[in-house]
């Protein structure tokens, strides 16, 4: 494995770099899109159940199917990395919109009343009180979305863009274990590191949960 790495360092690094981009851009996009959607599901309670159901249906679509179906909707080429980014963004939104809604719904009504009584307007109350209080729940959802995305990117190798997944297909075609091992280990490590970073962010942003 060491010799494989020293001979193919550049390939592995390029694959890793692509993997990080393909996995994390959708996490950020999905987070930004899911926040207002989740909020809508709380602000208008009749929207909550349709939202949860649509999210559930979207999340259940197998990744390969979504990767190859998106070109029809987007007009992209079938081998375009954009398909992977959009597909993973859809999964992230489906997972997070529900978590955001659940997190905001779970905020103690007494806290909301206290904030309103102190003179917070609706938007200010949302950004300064509700979101921080719901943050542990939202970030827990963000952690599973991030880890899921990192493991899903590899499937993209079947349509030609898959970060570390390309190491799998190469190893499989050549009947050669090293690249497959390296790919799996790096993918799992990447997931662990990304997960750890979100945990650290959460510790920094919500000091009161450790009091």
């Amino acid at each position: 494995m060491i010799t494989y790495l020293s001979n193919n360092g550049d390939t592995v690094l390029a694959a890793l770099r692509q993997h990080i981009w393909l996995a994390l851009v959708p996490v950020l996009l999905g987070f930004v899109i899911a926040l207002p959607i989740g909020w809508l599901g709380v602000r208008f309670p009749w929207l909550y159940h349709p939202l949860v159901n649509v999210a559930g249906v979207l999340y259940s679509i197998p990744s390969l199917a979504l990767f190859v179906f998106l070109p029809v909707l987007l007009g992209t080429k079938i081998l375009s990395p954009l398909n992977i980014v959009v597909a993973l963004t859809i999964y992230t939104v489906a997972l997070l919109a529900r978590t955001v809604a659940d997190g905001l719904r779970a905020v103690d009504p007494l806290i909301l009343q206290a904030a309103s009584a102190m003179g917070y307007r609706r938007l200010k109350r949302l950004t300064d009180v509700e979101l921080p209080v719901a943050l542990p729940v939202i970030l827990a959802g963000l952690r599973s979305a991030t880890v899921a995305n990192i493991s899903l990117v590899s499937v993209g190798a079947l349509i030609g863009v898959g970060g570390l997944g390309q190491l799998f297909t190469r190893g499989f075609q050549l009947f050669y274990l090293e690249p497959i091992f390296v790919g799996i280990i790096l993918s799992v490590l990447l997931a662990a590191v990304a997960d750890g970073i979100i945990v650290l962010i959460q510790r920094a942003l919500t000091p009161w949960t450790r009091a």
């Binding site: 249906v57 390969l64 199917a65 570390l164 997944g165 799998f168 497959i180 993918s187 799992v188």
Partner: protein, 219 residues
């Protein structure tokens, strides 16, 4: 959107290899087999850990480890190690089924109300009776959600397994891509997406049916 492959009647003849019914049946077969073996392994372990509280570490980390494993890598690793065929793919699929079921069985057992368990013991129930008549029914909603995500995971991964030579609905996409027949790729994507959505719906209905109304508070 070119749906000619999907609506071509000759692709729906159950007798031909590679027709939709043939691939669907193969796909369901892999899914059912992996879920069965995975449940037989994971359920007792998860229930035991949840019941006794011993080894919680394993149950919690199994879930995280399972989620972060790249499915394609696992499939290709197994096939490169053991050769082509059903067995290596089945092992990979089972490896993916175990973590969600193990973790949810554990979580279901841990989060149930201990006063109810104490009451059951106080009424003179044997440990086995407490497990099968009280703890298991109460843990069922959480357990079922783990089973449902395991099922979805297997449906998706069985699709990818076409890339390592297995039958199933993934064949349409992998072969379609290989010969540049996008109509076939699209047909595969639509059928497998419908299968996943329907299966999840069926399991949701099954969950309503098997979870006691006293637990789900629907009575």
């Amino acid at each position: 959107m070119n749906l000619s492959y999907l609506f071509d009647a000759s692709h729906w003849d159950p007798g031909t290899t590679g027709s939709f019914p043939d691939l669907l049946l193969a796909h369901l077969g892999y899914v059912a087999l992996a879920l069965l073996i995975g449940t037989v392994i994971a359920l007792p372990v998860g229930l035991y850990i949840g019941h006794t509280g011993r080894g919680s570490f394993i149950a919690i980390n199994a879930g995280n480890a399972g989620r972060s494993l790249p499915t394609l890598g696992l499939l290709m690793l197994m096939v490169t190690l053991l050769g082509l065929g059903l067995l290596p793919v089945l092992i990979a699929l089972t490896v993916l089924v175990v973590p969600p079921i193990l973790t949810s069985a554990y979580a279901g057992m841990r989060t149930l109300d201990h006063q109810v368990v104490d009451a059951a013991k106080g009424m003179g129930m044997r440990p086995w009776q407490v497990l099968t008549r009280v703890e298991l029914p109460m843990a069922l909603p959480v357990l079922m959600s783990g089973f449902r995500s395991a099922a979805l995971q297997v449906v998706a991964t069985a699709t990818v397994a076409a890339a390592v030579g297995l039958s199933g609905l993934g064949r349409l996409m992998i072969d379609g891509l290989a010969v540049n027949d996008y109509s076939r790729v699209l047909a595969g994507a639509i059928v497998v997406a419908l299968l996943a959505v329907l299966l999840d719906l069926l399991l949701a209905l099954a969950q309503r049916w098997i979870v006691s109304p006293g637990v789900s508070k629907r009575f």
